[in-house]
Symmetry: C2
Subunit: 347 residues, 2 copies
DNA sequence: CTGAAAGCGCTTACAG
DNA sequence: CTGAAAGCGCTTACAG
């Protein structure tokens, strides 16, 4: 046997199919007597509306396509979680398309343009499934261009920006979060603050650098050229660049690493030289990855609003689906400095 | 305008709708001439088959429902990734339902039975969406009972077991992975090996304990009662229990922590006492979380086959969907010991 | 308030 | 090899 259909419910309740539909959708008034009989029949047979048939009739699937560069990318699960939470009350479901780019891109996130056809195929797949809207989740904050704009399906970028004026985007504030965490060190009275940056061509690197410089300028603090070190987002570059910094004639008293992983590298370098954090050296990171709470001493870092990015992206998409007029095209969410135990005044 | 329909393609190509369908599905021979005309019309109009209409007709959606206890749970994204990879060639898409239990369960994974109605609602939602099959992804390896068995929809448990004989499950080998990593320490010539366990009532704890004991017994090594410490999977319990162990009259030369997070706690305790890892103390963890590569020295640990669990779960589901007869009901995948720098022979 | 009926866009016996 | 037609299970003007 298959599942019960609306026709069977109608027969059981002695009403028309239309009436059953009206009772279930609540779109038209139905007399209490018939309503009751329909509801009883539904209960009796454990009837479930066939959403496929409904979708075919209404041209709406009530499904949101979520296209992710890689589900294993660091911020991605939290962003998906935010989307799920915002969508859970609305009746929308999530169709997940995972492009699995992590091992292809490594941390060369700016190379994405090579995979634009993969992305467009993913969008096409979601279009073919007739999703009502699409959220694109990047693995790294940056501008995304050249994406095929789906016809009649709103698209929201999460953790990224787009030049496409038809799309919305939700990201976070790289410049000011970097400014804030640098301020934290300045307020502790550090004067010699060094920076370990990510890839040169990364937009996150550029913005975090500008935030760092802004805070230092504002405090009238000089940043010697050799205090700006270029890493590659990985542990070893954090270790090596910290070694360079600590070998300088005038070493810094504090280091801003542009992510927690490189900050973990700072710890290793300090540990090797028997320097204590934060007594001999203050270290801060970026991202508030789990590792930040597992390093000893716990790492002061910047928490990114990942879940909120997901919530906001889904909210804006829902607004667009509802036909709301005024939706901010590009949203930039603030970050939070999490002060833990890796920072203290210089000796 | 809406998208082109099959009827329009038929008119454009001067054939019947049936012929268009046969060309597209390849289910029947069509003369080369008509075939060509159909394909041209498809190209010209950029026609896409309406999968909703197809689903209504065939009662198959070619969608797999993936029900996750929490997308942010540690092994979950990798398992989903494995599922995506296995499914990507098969034409199936993934409908993701995220129960968001992480903050409710904390690390009390055994309390799941309180949320069984939430789980059943999730399954119901997937059934209502007419998915062809369901994969349930747990956050912690254990037995799951009392789940509503969906009618006519195969269900596979990933990272968990079930008593339900109608279901399949794919998990990993807790006992032998624990045996293996203990062996690693024994081979380094450690005699005094302590254990920091997870929650007492966790089945992962029990199996990892039995594996530890098996290896120790086999080597004829005695395990003093006070060498078995009970933690709660968290950093602080690792730190505290290591403090206890290092305060013993005869302290261990090596510690097996039942996860990497507690192992990070061991590092902190050792660091405070100015003990060097691995020279003064060998430490091993479990899970191969990212933190394992960011601790200094890098942590020797057990890698769980998360992605493979996803791949296998999807493969077995596909087999069931194809009607294959012999599918292993319960699969237990082996783990891998990852030797890094936190283990060495005792002094 | 209620029901008969059209139609969403496909697939698939069936007849030729 | 090909096409006319039924039908999947709904929703929604429309007429009453």
């Amino acid at each position: 046997m298959g599942l019960a259909t609306m026709k069977e419910i109608a027969e059981l309740a002695g009403v028309s199919v239309a009436t059953v539909s009206y009772v279930l959708s609540g779109k038209k008034k139905v007399s209490p007597a018939k309503r009751e009989r329909v509801l009883n029949a539904v209960e009796l047979t454990n009837y479930k509306l066939n959403t496929i048939a409904k979708s075919l009739r209404t041209s709406k699937t009530e499904i949101i396509g979520v296209l992710v560069e890689d589900i294993c990318g660091l911020p991605v699960p939290e962003i998906v979680d935010g989307i799920n939470q915002m969508l859970s009350d609305s009746g929308y479901q999530v169709l997940l398309n995972n492009l699995q780019l992590l091992n292809k891109l490594y941390n060369q996130y700016e190379q994405l343009s090579q995979y634009i056809s993969t992305i467009n195929r993913g969008i096409q797949l979601l279009e073919d499934a007739r999703v009502d809207g699409i959220i694109y989740i990047a693995m790294h904050d940056r501008r995304i261009d050249g994406i095929h704009q789906p016809v009649n399906i709103p698209l929201v970028f999460a953790y990224a920006n787009s030049d496409d004026p038809a799309s919305l985007s939700v990201s976070y504030d790289n410049h000011f979060s970097s400014y804030d965490i640098t301020q934290h060190l300045i307020q502790l009275n550090h004067k010699r603050i060094a920076l370990i940056a990510g890839h040169t061509n990364s937009s996150a690197t550029k913005l975090r650098l500008s935030g760092f410089r802004a805070a230092m300028n504002e405090a009238g603090l000089h940043v010697p050229q050799e205090y700006i070190r270029w890493g590659d987002w990985e542990f070893h570059s954090g270790l090596e660049q910290t070694n360079m910094l600590l070998s300088l004639k005038i070493p810094p008293t504090a280091i801003v690493a542009m992510n927690d992983v490189m900050a973990a590298g700072c710890y290793a370098a300090a540990y090797k030289r028997k320097l204590s954090i934060p007594e001999d050296l203050s270290v801060v990171g970026f991202d508030n990855q789990p590792v930040a709470s597992f390093l000893y001493p716990n790492l002061t870092t910047v928490a990114l609003p990942n879940k909120k990015i997901g919530l906001t992206a889904a909210k804006h998409l829902l607004w667009r689906l509802e036909g709301r007029e005024k939706i901010p095209a590009n949203t930039t969410l603030p970050c939070t400095v999490i002060v833990r135990d890796s920072t203290a005044p210089p000796k």
